[in-house]
Amino acid sequence: MSLDSSNEPAIELVGIDKRFGAVHANKNINLTVAKGSIHGIIGENGAGKSTLMSILYGFYHADQGEIRISGKPITIRDSQAAIAAGIGMVHQHFMLVENFTVLENVMLGAEGGQLLRKGVASTRQELKRLEDDYGLEVDPDAVIEELPVGSQQRVEILKALYRGAEILILDEPTGVLTPAEADHLFKVLRVLRDQGKTIILITHKLREIMAITDTVSVMRRGEMVATRKTAGTTVEELAELMVGRRVLLRVEKGEAKPGKVLLSVTNLTVKDSRGVTMVDDVSLEVRAGEIVGIAGVAGNGQSELLEAIAGIRKPASGEIFLDGKPVAGVGPAELRSLGLAHIPEDRHHMGLVLKFEEYENSILGYHRDQRYGRGALLDLDAIRKDAEEKIAKYDIRPPNPRLRTANFSGGNQQKIVVAREIERDPNVLIIGQPTRGVDIGAIEFIHKRIIEMRDAGKAVLLVSVELDEIRSLSDRILVMFAGKVVGEKSGEAGEQTLGLMMAGIAA
């Protein structure tokens, strides 16, 4: 109904352009969103979706371009102006003060006077009303850091509604949600839409787009490449628009020939710095010549599991065996010498030192290796030669080992990490999010390398929040939920089954 009921535009973006230093994040973007509709924006990591929405919300300033709300051009100098114009945004990374209560977070910036007392009472009332209207239930006196992410997101939505948002932007809201929580969110969004609010939903999950949006726009590499009515398009078309060419949905790979157990984990428990149990009594095995994938919604303990196996985090209890040797509590340096390689989830913070030159990063973690120097000294010539060889083999561009790593694009940065870890010829390879923020060409390349490792008889443990990636690479799939392994399926398992398991519903 919404689609036909109003063709009047709520938002028009005209010629928006934005650079971050060398990165051209938004290139001359035009976008129109109809009032009372749910508009989806999809695009790969780094396509510029968040940037565009942050400009609309006054968080960033466009270098060029115009914004019109309900047909009227306005200048959005800061978020205050955006809020005044009826725009609310739920950010990809929550903007909550963690040691504040829900109430304080909702009030912040809309306190209703110099003193808090009056505002507190009226906010409490208003929260109650919003809860009744939309079923957005949270305890106003709960402290944010003690709430589950789902509830935290609800607080973000409440914040926007409390400020009277008519236009609501949600930036990848489901990344941290289980399918059930996502369903609940979508229900709320539909209610909002039916009350005449306009919603922009950013995601790169095509399924969600098909399920809830009225119209959808696709971004690629900073450009707005297409806008479609959701009813009139298909998943295949959107995928192709998104990456700019036909997408291979499955990776070619042969039968696995599992050999002996190279990595095994028994009853592993890991706690975070606050003492919260993140990995709860997990046991698993990875054999030579197989890829074991770990599926799960982000934040269910996969990262901590990987870090514990890689020796970065000390487990609270349990044992880890590398080729039969107990290694729990052993540091990363020794693990590497025992034949474990680790491609970390976050290349910017872990895998690379962005300020280093490329060749310096090509030895990160292996800098104590005999090949790279004698005694206490490093042999820079040897290191650079080695780096050049990897650059050639992995087609890293530009092929310059003296270039600062920050100046490589995301895909090439990931290749630097992959080359470093795979070229060491490890027995066990553990990988987190191998293709996050990487373009499709590099994805295929990296996937091929991973399969080659398996075929060469290595044990591979893979963590990814992209279910498609897990399904196309893994020989076996373990599903993690709330720190526990809740089930195991073969690589052929259906999306439906896995999704339910990820929500902790079925096993």
């Binding site: 340096a333 895998g351 000294l377």
Partner: protein, 368 residues
């Protein structure tokens, strides 16, 4: 558009920008001189003549430079590992005790060149010992090293006070200081160095420790950019998370770095204690540890930069002393003001001019 990530060539990053920051620091310092009713240009002239005009002046300048190289290196080594060591002052002070104990026990028996290596070790050990506790607190307990090193400056000051006032003082003497070392506990003056350039060292205390300082610069350069340890330090300094991924042990590197940093600071004591006054005096460091912060920031934490900026501060210190003599209204504390301005403009405000320079540069090269 943000300009922070636009790359600039090295000669701008390491040449033009520090120079402009320095000019700003001097401009504001000049304002102060002007405000108290003196001519800043005349003051600058007096300062330069005082520092570089005669062989003796140069000798004093290089004497101060020597101290600042040590403390500058000390601060720089720590910064490379991401640690801000404000404790060089106290480390140098305690280092003096190490050097003095060696000199006092050996000067009767052996010539200076036998004493020297032991004194270097003694000074470094004591300096390192002073850095060890803050380092341990940072490494194991996460206590902020900036605060703990400041605290240790005070603690060391009390300790040295006790040692000098109650233990090492020469009975019957007023001043809390040790006896004068015999020649076996003194470092020789570098007359030959100045006379090579046709000057006369005179009474200037430029001494052998200047050469030790230069050697240390080279060793620090090797350490930071040519050794595995240096690689680990730099990794930790830029990205602690990458360091933990790479298996670089945080606590160990923090400890080692701070011990090296403290050791370098401690060696600074050789210069005044064994090179100049031939005795351990109360408060002999006289702020050189703090100057090290400015020297390191100004010199972009690189040994070559540190030599240059230590020379700059050497000129300031010597020239400042002469200046305060000829222009009594400009006391030597003016140097502290300049030092503060340099830290402010070269350190805290280092990015202030960058956007303008980026724009200027892009126009100049006809960039986008």
């Amino acid at each position: 558009m943000s300009t922070a990530s636009v790359p600039l060539p090295a000669w701008i990053n390491y040449g033009v920008i520090p120079l402009l920051n320095l000019v700003l620091a001097f401009f504001f310092s000049g304002l102060v001189v002007w405000a108290i009713g003196e001519n800043p240009f005349e003051a600058l002239q007096l300062l330069l003549i005082g520092a570089l005009g005669r062989g003796e002046g140069i000798g004093f300048t290089l004497f101060y430079t020597t101290s600042f190289i040590f403390t500058g290196l000390s601060v720089a080594v720590a910064i490379h590992a991401g640690l801000f060591n404000i404790g060089s002052e106290g480390q140098a002070y305690l280092g003096g005790l190490g050097a003095a104990l060696v000199a006092l026990s050996l000067d009767h028996y052996v010539p200076w060149y036998v004493t020297m290596p032991f004194a270097v070790i003694g000074a470094a050990l004591f300096g390192a010992a002073c850095a060890a506790v803050p380092a341990w607190l940072q490494a194991k307990r996460g206590s902020h090293i900036v605060i703990t090193t400041i605290m240790f400056n005070f603690i060391v000051s009390s300790l040295m006070n006790y040692v000098l006032v109650r233990v090492l003082i020469v009975p019957g003497k007023m001043a809390p200081e040790t006896r004068t070392f015999l020649p076996g506990g003194q470092l020789p003056k570098l007359d030959w160095l100045i006379s090579m350039f046709g000057g006369k060292l005179g009474a200037a205390p430029l001494n052998f420790s200047f050469l030790i300082a230069l050697v240390m610069c080279f060793l620090v350069w090797v350490l930071i950019w040519r050794t595995r340890l240096g690689y680990e330090m730099r990794t930790l300094g830029i990205s602690p998370s990458a360091a933990s991924y790479a298996g670089i042990p945080y606590a160990k590197i923090v400890m080692i770095t701070m011990l090296i940093s403290g050791g370098l600071a401690g060696m600074m004591a050789l210069n005044p204690v064994m090179g100049a006054s031939a005795r351990l005096q109360i408060e002999f460091v006289g702020g050189a540890g703090f100057v090290g912060i400015a020297v390191s920031l100004m010199g972009r934490n690189h040994p070559v930069g540190i030599i240059l900026s230590a020379l700059l501060f050497g000129i300031l210190y010597q020239g400042g002393a002469e200046l305060s003599f000829d222009m009594p209204k400009v006391t030597r504390d003016m140097i502290v003001v300049i030092q503060g301005m340099v830290i402010l403009f070269a350190g805290a405000l280092e990015y202030m001019l960058r956007p303008a320079i980026v724009r200027f540069y892009q126009q100049a090269v006809g960039g986008k």
